[in-house]
Every structure is written in C-alpha cells, then in structure tokens.
Symmetry: C2
Subunit: 86 residues, 2 copies
C-alpha cells in the first residue's frame, strides 16, 4: 500500500532518524514529506519505531494513497529531491 | 470534497499568504499542512491563486481525502493548532 507521510519534527537528529527510515520505503517529495510503498507488517513496525523516536510535541501523519486518490493528487511547483535537502 | 494541502514555501510572506487563504477553507494540522473542505469551483480558484503566488522552487501538494481514506489516516503526536504557529 502507498502512503504519504508528512511530519513536523523540531529536533534535527530525530528528524534525520525518521527521514532515514522513510527513505528505505520510498522517496522524499517535500522537505517534510515522503511518499512510501510498504507492506502491512513493515508499516506497523515503521509506525511503532517512529512513535518511539519522536517527541510528544512533534507530529507525523500517515495518509493512505489509494490508486484512485493518487491519480487526483495535484502537485504545484517543484518536487524536492533528496539532494535538495542539506 | 476534503483535501490535505502540504507545502514547502521558502519565503515567509508567500507562505503566510498561502496559509491565510487555506485558513478560509479549513484548519492547520501541521506547520506546513492544512486539511480543507472546499467546493470544486472554489478549489479551482484557490489552486490558480496559489499557483500565481508561489515561487517555482516552492511546492504545494493537494491530496484528495475520500471519507474512506480519511478514516485510515494515522496521526502520531500533536496536531499543530493555529496558536502554535508564530
């Protein structure tokens, strides 16, 4: 299943840990957003891992992307690539 | 229809302009993300307005949220409220 993962994480180290894990399953589309494709078992594991890493003031959303809803996504401007992110 | 709008906008003034428009149709859920509910005609107008405001290096994504996909959204941590954003 595909997901859009969007996050607000204040601490640089924690944010890097989360993006490193997300990179294993997909690609960065914005500074704080990844599109990932992942099996259910891995998804549950990833979710728990991220839950254990982030601070309680941080926030991470996992939006499921069905093939239909994915076809309706409108993208304005430039998709951020990994190399755009320092 | 409901949408998640996620954006990467570098210039503060432009980012504020975009969030001000999005606030008319919904609520902030992260520093750079809004959930909005909007009629098709308004959606097209909003899309064009934002397209005309942002810089070409910025990016704004509009993810449609069906009632089904909305029920599957997983939210970890704290949803950012308007007052959390300086």
């Amino acid at each position: 299943m595909k997901y859009l993962v969007v996050y607000d994480i204040s601490d640089d180290k924690i944010r890097n840990k989360v993006s490193t894990r997300l990179k294993k399953f997909g690609m960065r589309v914005q500074y704080s957003a990844f599109e990932i494709e992942i099996k259910k078992t891995d998804y549950i594991k990833l979710y728990k891992e991220i839950a254990s890493i982030i601070d309680k003031t941080d926030s991470v959303f996992f939006f499921p992307l069905s093939s239909y809803s994915e076809s309706l996504i409108l993208k304005l401007g430039q998709v951020k690539r990994e190399e755009d992110v320092i």
